[in-house]
């Protein structure tokens, strides 16, 4: 780990014990460490800073929600920590790899082997069936699908799509499509899942099913989850909530795992938006 990154780690050491999830303590490995992340967009002649030095660490098996008002930089942060975009400054260590040292091909390999993605708009390939969509990352990685068939069946059962696995996306409801996307994110047994507003396009009931599912996955498999959301109820499913405003981390809270979490998060968010 670089000196800069180590420093970032010390600067922003996350709370030692989460209220839920796997216990953490000294020697716990981090699946994600980002230090001093900066991102500046050039719009015509104007430079627009989106992130102004963000530090973030995520432990293995931890569920982190990133919240903030519109334009706070939460989506930009997700793009940078998942290797989808390059920062203007700072470092990202993801699953043991320093992203700045990886070329495009290596980044692609890292994403397909160690990271799972869940999008707001589901992003399934319309021509493929549910199970083909789930298998896609394995196939792209050149792995034998037959060796993973059992795992795929289990995942489809887990996301309650077992009986609709041969349906194409346009034959599935929004909630079902998102569950297929979750199964796709998990098929490679990633170390971390990046979720971008996973319930943004779903009704409350379907959203609850998806969030329960993410929580169960995190608890069951130990996969870390980073979820960008602006919904306090969604954030209440996380272990920890990181608040962003104007491209900076301005606060973070630990959830208690009770019904008060949603209210506290909403209040915190309202406070940040107001001031």
């Amino acid at each position: 780990m670089s000196e800069k990154l180590s420093k970032a780690y010390k600067l922003s050491d996350p709370p030692a014990n989460s209220s839920r999830g796997k216990p953490s303590g000294p020697g716990q490995e981090f699946v994600l460490v980002a230090g001093h992340l900066r991102k500046i967009y050039q719009v015509g002649d104007i430079k627009v800073p989106a992130l102004r030095g963000v530090d973030l660490q995520v432990r293995r098996g931890e569920f982190v929600a990133i919240m903030g008002p519109s334009g706070s930089g939460k989506s930009t942060l997700l793009h940078l920590i998942s290797g989808l975009d390059r920062p203007t400054g700072g470092e990202v260590m993801l699953a043991g790899e320093r992203l700045s040292t990886l070329d495009d091909e290596s980044l692609s390999v890292l994403r397909r082997q160690k990271v799972g993605f869940v999008f707001q708009t589901f992003n399934l390939i319309p021509m493929l069936t549910a199970q083909e969509n789930v298998m896609l990352p394995l196939l792209i990685d050149g792995r034998d699908p037959d060796k993973h068939r059992k795992r795929m069946d289990n995942l489809l059962q887990l996301v309650l799509i077992g009986d609709r696995k041969d349906h194409k996306p346009d034959q599935l409801s929004g909630g079902q499509q998102q569950r297929v996307a979750i199964a796709r994110a998990l098929i490679t047994q990633p170390e971390i899942v990046m979720a971008d507003e996973p319930t943004g396009n779903l009704d409350t009931r379907s959203g609850t099913v998806v969030l329960d599912l993410l929580r169960r996955v995190q608890e069951g498999s130990g996969t870390a989850i980073v979820m960008v959301t602006h919904d306090p109820r969604s954030s209440s499913y996380a272990d920890r909530v990181v608040y962003l405003r104007d491209g900076k981390v301005v606060d973070q809270t630990m959830n208690r795992g009770d019904e008060t979490d949603t209210r506290r998060i909403a209040e915190r968010l309202a406070y940040l938006e107001e001031f």
Binding site: S75, H79, L84, D85, D104, E105, S108, V109, R111, R112, Q113, F117, F119, Q120, T121, N123, I125, P126, M127, L128, L136, P137, L139, I140, D141, G142, R143, D144, R184, D196
Partner: protein
């Protein structure tokens, strides 16, 4: 293993993508298919045409190594004494003499009409080529495959005949039947017993299978060739035959030995010569196939660009979940490759179908019968290769765009809009490429061996240049057209027209595709019209008179006086055509020599002199009458760099002879390589006295048809005459001309269709990309009809711009085609800019653009507002 699995996954994705977008896949496939079909169709047609020439003459010669023929083909033949001299020459192992003439089944005389083919070649009509051969020696030089009955027997001297099987079948004759034939040497039909039938192979291919063999002695008698032969085919010893030098030496020895009466040639040389004369026609077809493929390439590019635009998010997702750039590259190229294979396979089938139609038309124009298609393996591989390369090249740029799609696209983050590379490049490349293309067309001398390559490259450079130059005109043209579009489509029309400025590259590409399609349409149709115009002008002027009298048997010169004596006949002039060789020039050609009686001919029909002064023409006729002069065609003048006053040197049975060029006229006889001489000269130098046909003018107050009927009644049946009314004959010839150029019109239509598909693509994607915006417009109060109008206005402006630029480029292209023809045919066509093509192109541009936008416009207007607003 792993990489194979990944590859199969990619193929699977490509296949699913193709099957998931059936319309787009079908459209692209059709674009590729049409391009490949045109390339293959042209290739097969050309090969078929060449083979039909080469095979016929090669096969007719069969095993012969050399051929001795009359110095003036169509004349009276040469002395049979030469046969012994041929025999006596060392190295000659066999010498087979023959006489030949065209004949007609006696009961088919009425309705028979010998006519002139489109390119000035003489069409045989439905005549039977009759060869008198010596069965004893003929088998040494010619192969006949007997399918029924027996061959002619050595020493046989009866009225027996061996007939081409296909001809016998067509005319419903069987083995043992008697067939009555009209032969030049006698007025009464000669009746032959059919003793054998021959297959359509070897010598059975001659004259498209309409061939008959009879005993030499009988033939000599019936064709007035007693003591004379038309041809001797000879075989030499193997060691000479296998050495080019030895064969050339014996050929020269033979020529020197036999004297001026005959000419020694290689068998098949005449076929090659004929094939060469069709080079311009072939090259024209080749050029079109290149252009069609080029425009097909534009369509493919357009489709792939749209494909990438439409799937940006999907490709972004694939990148997000771990697909590398290389994988995306493989994915896109796999799709391109599969489409190319599919399109090419379909194109090959379509190409064969297309070739059938084209070969018939080309054969018709060339005056040869095409009985079967030649399917050259090289043509197939070349078409497939071109299809694949054009598809891959066309999809290259969109593929490069695809691999640079950011994974962020999957998250709805839009990448930076595409650059305006085309616009920037246009200034640098457009006019420059056009200039280079134009210069190559104009300045580089075209040798046959490289003509296709040079003209194709020049055409592609020019068209590329034109496409790159579109950005120089589109902006001001759009501004110029906007008020008009607004006037037609109302206020929303202005918004529609302005939309064109948004996706500039796509707009430019569509305009360019449409422009090229329309330009090629105008150029092609105008070229056809220029040919039609000159051919009709020549046919009308050269034929002249009111009636034409001809016969499959020989007509004596004195018949003219008998005809002139008939009631209603004012003037009669005879004509006789032979084929002779030019000599002493860097290229030697077998040209058509037509003997006329200048003064009577000048009274009845016209010559299209290059300098049309009436007084001068009279003087020319006087000089021609005096002898040792010729009137030559414009093509001859260009090819041999001859002017009035120069000498044209011809090989005659009396030796090499110079003829003074007295005038230069527009004439297409013999593909334009022709000379008019006097009958006196023809007799003096070529020994020909009889007549092919008489042109007659009718006295005023008489109806040509009635005069014709009375000639038929008085002399017709007795002398085997057919009488045709010139006006009707002209109508037929012009119809034949039209039919021959239908193919060019069809090719032009294919090219326009391919370019029209580009507009369909563009409008579809343009509407698809703007669903959200269109819904927004509806939400703020735009009515459904207004929305439809706006989209139609956008398409209309696109069509207008492509149309206007296409019309301009078409005018230039038409001129360029004329230049190519001048290079290749040594003849400057009268440029006829086709108003028909201009009008049809303008209509195509507008109709296609509106039709292309109609369905997307209706769909967009019907889409619920909320649904559209929800899409990003």
């Amino acid at each position: 293993m792993t990489s194979w699995r990944r590859f199969f996954t990619i193929i699977k994705l490509a296949l699913r993508s193709m099957s998931g977008h059936l319309t787009r896949t079908a459209l692209t496939t059709l674009g590729i298919s049409l391009g490949v079909a045109v390339v293959l169709g042209v290739n097969i047609t050309n090969a078929t045409l060449m083979d039909s020439f080469n095979n016929v003459f090669d096969e007719a010669g069969g095993k012969a190594d050399l051929t001795v023929q009359d110095q003036a083909r169509g004349g009276d033949g040469f002395s049979s004494n030469l046969l012994q001299q041929v025999h006596d020459l060392e190295g000659v192992t066999a010498a087979a003499p023959s006489v030949q003439s065209r004949s007609l089944i006696a009961d088919e005389l009425s309705g028979w009409q010998a006519s002139t083919g489109v390119m000035g070649t003489l069409s045989s009509g439905s005549t039977l080529l009759t060869l008198g051969v010596d069965p004893g020696v003929d088998s040494a030089v010619r192969e006949l495959e007997i399918t029924a009955g027996r061959p002619l027997e050595p020493g046989e001297n009866r009225y027996v005949i061996v007939l081409g099987e296909s001809f016998a079948r067509e005319k419903e004759y069987s083995l043992g039947d008697t067939i009555p034939l009209l032969l030049p040497g006698r007025q009464a039909p000669a009746k032959f017993e059919i003793v054998g039938l021959i297959a359509s192979s070897g010598a059975g291919l001659i004259n498209g299978g309409s061939i008959a063999f009879l005993p030499l002695g009988v033939a000599q008698d019936l064709m007035s060739r007693n003591g004379r032969f038309d041809q001797i085919d000879l075989a030499v010893t193997d060691d000479i035959a296998q050495s080019e030098e030895a064969l050339e030496e014996i050929k020269n020895n033979l020529a020197a030995h036999l004297g001026d009466e005959v000419r020694v040639i290689y068998p098949g040389a005449r076929g090659k010569e004929l094939a060469k004369r069709m080079a311009s026609y072939r090259l024209g077809l080749d050029l079109f196939s290149t252009v069609a493929m080029f425009i097909g390439g534009f369509l493919i590019y357009n489709t792939f660009a749209i494909n990438v635009a439409e799937r940006t998010r999907q490709i972004g997702l694939l990148r997000t979940i771990g697909m590398t750039k290389k994988d995306v590259l493989v994915l896109m190229f796999t799709e391109a490759g599969l489409l190319s294979l599919l399109g090419s396979a379909l194109g090959l089938l379509m190409g064969i179908g297309m070739a059938k139609g084209m070969s018939t038309t080309v054969g018709f124009a060339a005056g040869t019968t095409i009985s079967s298609l030649s399917l050259p393996l090289r043509g197939f591989t070349r078409s497939l290769f071109i299809g694949l390369v054009v598809t891959l090249l066309s999809s290259l740029w969109p593929t490069l765009q695809a691999i640079n799609i950011s994974p962020l696209e999957s998250l709805g983050v839009k990448s930076q809009p595409g650059g305006t590379g085309w616009r920037r490049m246009s200034w640098k490349f457009g006019p420059g490429l056009m200039f280079v293309g134009w210069m190559v067309f104009n300045e580089i001398p075209l040798r046959d061996s490289i003509a296709w390559t040079v003209v194709s490259i020049a055409a592609i450079l020019f068209l590329f240049g034109a496409a790159f130059s579109v950005p120089l005109a589109d902006q001001w043209l759009a501004d110029l057209l906007r008020p008009g579009v607004r006037f037609v489509f109302g206020r929303v029309g202005g918004i529609g027209a302005a939309n064109l400025k948004r996706a500039q590259n796509r707009t430019l590409l569509t305009i360019a595709t449409l422009m090229l399609g329309i330009a090629v349409n105008i150029g092609t149709v105008s070229l056809g019209d220029s040919f039609r115009y000159d051919l009709s002008r020549w046919t009308t002027a050269a034929t002249g008179g009111d009636l034409i009298v001809q016969s499959p048997t020989r007509m004596d010169h004195n018949l003219g006086q008998r005809l002139e004596a008939l009631d209603g006949v004012e003037l009669v002039t005879p004509e006789r055509m032979i084929e002779v060789w030019t000599t002493g020039y860097p290229v030697e050609d077998e040209i058509v020599y037509i003997a006329i009686e200048p003064e009577s001919r000048g009274e009845i029909s016209q010559f299209l002199f290059e300098e049309p002064s009436r007084d001068a023409q009279k003087e020319v006729f006087h000089q021609l009458q005096r002898g040792e002069g010729v009137i030559i065609s414009t093509s001859m003048a260009e090819r041999y760099h001859l002017e009035v006053g120069d000498q044209l040197t011809l090989d005659t049975p009396r030796g090499v002879q110079d003829f003074e060029v007295l005038g230069v006229v527009l004439d297409f006889s013999g593909n334009g390589l022709m000379a008019y001489g006097s009958r006196t000269d023809q007799y003096r130098y070529f020994g020909v006295t009889d007549v092919d046909r008489f042109l007659l003018s009718v006295e005023s107050g008489y109806n040509p048809e009635q005069v014709g009927e009375s000639i038929q009644a008085v002399l017709g049946s007795r002398l085997n005459l057919t009488v045709d009314v010139v006006d009707q004959l002209l109508e037929n010839v012009l119809e034949i001309t039209d039919r021959s150029f239908v193919m060019f019109d069809t090719l032009a239509l294919i090219v326009v269709s391919v370019s029209a598909m580009g507009v369909v693509n563009t409008m579809a994607i343009s509407v698809m990309e703007r669903r959200q915006e269109l819904s927004m417009l509806r939400s703020v109060g735009m009515t459904r009809p207004q929305l439809r109008k706006m989209i139609l206005a956008e398409a209309g402006a696109l069509g207008l711009m492509g149309g206007i630029l296409g019309l301009g480029l078409g005018v230039v292209l038409a001129r360029m085609f004329i230049v190519v023809v001048r290079h290749l045919m040594d003849y400057e066509l009268t440029n006829q800019l086709s108003t028909r093509a201009l009008i049809s192109s303008a209509i195509i541009a507008l109709v296609v653009s509106q039709a292309a936008a109609l369905i997307p416009a209706i769909r967009a207007s019907r889409r619920p507002i909320i649904e559209g607003l929800g899409e990003s």
